[in-house]
């Protein structure tokens, strides 16, 4: 009977105690790493704030137009504040990963390994989105200015359309990089993009043939309706 009780309660309990004994230092180490992560992040955030103030980095961001772009994207905080916040959470995130590694749980280790393998994809996708957004803004602006200077009435629509197409293109590339619904995204993008091009071709063919004719005539025959002889220089 005593033997049975020992097998039923004492041994599992002993095993549980052994496991706890083995695991407890890991938990404590992890908690310690996590706490020190928060403290380090907090210190770096404060130091960065002081340095930014000293070097007048906010002024640089304002002059470079980065502050305005952030504001346009709906972020009301100053670029330095955003940068400090970003750095803070990146440090916390790194320390959290270390803390999880120190737990030495096989399932967790497996998950982390897969996560780390996937991380470059996330990085490249984010980069694609950022570059896409910047290129879209730049190209959109260039098209807007040149078309307005050429007197094209639909300059605004044209610039917005190009901007949206570039953003969609970047988004499709980013999603493809992440491997989310790869084929669906590709097919959807091809259909949408092809549809836009076809719609534009038909629109130009039906509605804009006179404009195209005028443009080509002006370009190659040199005829112009603006018959002034202005010399601006």
């Amino acid at each position: 009977m005593l033997n049975f009780v020992e097998k039923l309660f004492k041994e599992p309990f002993q095993e549980f105690l052994d496991t706890i004994q083995k695991f407890l230092p890991n938990i404590l180490t992890s908690i310690l790493i996590l706490v020190s992560g928060f403290i380090t992040a907090w210190i770096i955030r404060i130091v960065l704030g002081k340095i930014a103030k000293l070097l007048k980095i906010d002024r640089f961001f304002n002059n470079a137009g980065i502050a305005r772009n952030l504001e346009k994207s709906g972020i009301k905080k100053s670029p330095v504040k955003v940068l400090r916040q970003l750095l803070y959470w990146t440090i916390v995130f790194i320390f959290t990963i270390f803390a999880l590694i120190f737990l030495k749980v096989p399932v967790m280790e497996n998950l982390l390994e897969r996560f780390f393998l996937y991380l470059p994809n996330v990085f490249i996708a984010s980069l694609l989105l950022i570059i896409g957004y910047l290129v879209a803004n730049l190209v959109g602006r260039v098209i807007l200015i040149t078309q307005v200077n050429a007197g094209v009435k639909s300059a605004g629509i044209l610039s917005r359309a190009v901007r949206i197409i570039i953003i969609i293109f970047a988004f499709a590339m980013a999603v493809e990089q992440l491997g989310i619904g790869r084929e669906t995204v590709l097919i959807a993008f091809a259909i949408t993009f092809g549809g836009i091009v076809l719609a534009l071709s038909i629109a130009l063919g039906l509605g804009g043939k006179d404009i195209a004719k005028d443009f080509l005539e002006k370009k190659f025959k040199g005829s112009s309706k603006d018959n002034d002889t202005f010399k601006h220089l």
């Binding site: 807007l144 007197g151 002889t229």
Partner: protein, 421 residues
């Protein structure tokens, strides 16, 4: 053979070696100007023989790769000495015609001319455009003599032009240069200048040949560099300026961009100079000023106003980043104005230009985009100017421009305050 300069081609170095030294150099930049350059070359040759017969002179043509007959015409153009009443003639006029190196543009052509002047150690130089129809031999005397005989370093041209000719000069370059540097140079980007050998050397040494200075920015750069560096300057009345349009392929937007970006870059470079200037002064003027007949200029107002309205409507998204709210409000109200009520007041135009200059200085966004977005507003100002001066005489237009210059002067503190340190 001694190679004097890396900028000059080998055969030019050889020719320069043969010539040795010269007193006067007249430079003519060209690019497909076969229809006009013959007249310009003859006027220059006559001017040199008539007014400087004892001086050793060079006519240097710097060409941008013309595919028409420009170079042959330069080489073959000669003058009938008897018909211009020249009886005594010494063989001391030389001709050099060479393609230039670097970015295609008038500025690169001038760089070659400065370099030849430096190597030949000339005392006085002049440059004249190859598209001129109204140039006479007297232009050479008026551009060179103040340097050779009166000790001036820079001679700006002063001509009578049609009231609608040179609108970038009238609405931007003349008033802004005058307000910034305090000298009343009526044609800062006239294109035909006289300058001393030492100023030619000063120009040649500058490292600006990869910028807009190498293109249409050269004229404002030459004038500003001379003024801001304290060279002795004057202007000469040359009569009428009648010329073909500059580079017909170049759009207004890119011409305006090249000139205005050079102006704004010079504002950066000489910021400490123009901050100290508070008054304007007249400069010595040579030549006998007389009234001249001018070719009519046809103006089509409606496309200008349409482009202005389109620009204000579509580019307001950019303007709100650097134009003050009052200016934005004014511009948006102007969209609804009909042609007869279309007035662009000087005060508004001056502040718009200042806000553009400050936006470029503070790099609010890509400076090329900022300056190119000025085109519709410039067209609005020109349209308003045309409407206002429809029935105005030459003198009345000059008075009108004088008033614009005074407004620039009055508002200078606004620019200084916004420019910052």
């Amino acid at each position: 053979m001694v190679k004097h300069s890396d900028i000059l081609l080998d055969d030019v170095n050889r020719k320069v070696n043969e010539i040795g030294h010269a007193d006067i150099l007249i430079g003519i930049p060209s690019y497909n100007n076969a229809s006009t350059i013959g007249h310009v070359v003859k006027a220059v040759q006559t001017g040199l023989l008539k007014y400087f017969p004892d001086k050793r002179s060079i006519l240097a043509n710097s060409d941008g790769g013309s595919i028409d007959d420009t170079i042959n015409i330069v080489k073959e153009s000669g003058i009938d000495l008897k018909s211009i009443l020249i009886h005594r003639y010494e063989e001391n006029l030389f001709k050099i015609s060479t393609p230039y190196q670097g970015i295609p543009g008038k500025g690169s052509a001038f760089r070659t001319i400065f370099e030849i002047a430096r190597v030949l150690n000339v005392k006085a130089c002049a440059v004249v455009d190859s598209d001129l129809r109204s140039i006479t031999p007297e232009w050479i005397e008026l551009l060179v003599s103040p340097v050779l005989n009166n000790g001036f370093d820079f001679v700006a041209p002063y001509y009578h032009r049609h009231k609608y000719d040179g609108t970038i000069t009238n609405t931007i370059i003349y008033p802004v240069t005058r307000m910034l540097y305090g000298k009343c140079i009526r044609q800062p980007i006239g294109g035909d200048f006289g300058f001393s050998g030492r100023l030619a050397e000063f120009y040649a040494d500058k490292k600006v040949w990869e910028t807009d200075v190498a293109r249409f920015g050269i004229d404002i750069w030459m004038t500003t560099t001379a003024v801001a560096n304290g060279f002795k300057i004057c202007q000469s009345f040359l009569g009428a300026k009648i010329h073909d349009p500059k580079d017909p392929a170049a759009s207004l937007s890119s011409m305006l961009h090249q000139v205005v970006s050079s102006l704004f870059n010079l504002m950066e470079e000489y910021s400490s100079v123009w901050h100290r200037v508070h008054d304007t002064e007249n400069i010595p003027t040579f030549g006998f000023v007389y009234t001249v007949g001018l070719e009519p200029v046809a103006v089509n107002l409606l496309p200008m106003i349409d482009k202005f309205k389109l620009g204000v409507k579509e580019l307001s998204i950019l303007y709100k980043d650097f134009l003050s709210p009052e200016l934005q409000k004014f511009l948006s109200e102007m969209i609804d104005q009909s042609e007869d009520k279309f007035v662009f007041p000087d005060e508004i135009w001056v502040r718009i230009l200042f806000d553009f200059a400050v936006a470029c200085h503070k790099k609010i966004m890509n400076t090329g985009h900022i300056i190119k977005s000025l085109t519709p507003l410039y067209l609005g100002k020109v349209a308003s100017f045309v409407i206002e001066s429809r029935d105005a005489s030459f003198d009345e237009v000059e008075q009108r421009l004088e008033s614009l210059c005074r407004t620039f002067q009055k508002e200078k503190q606004y620019l200084i305050d916004r420019w910052g340190k």
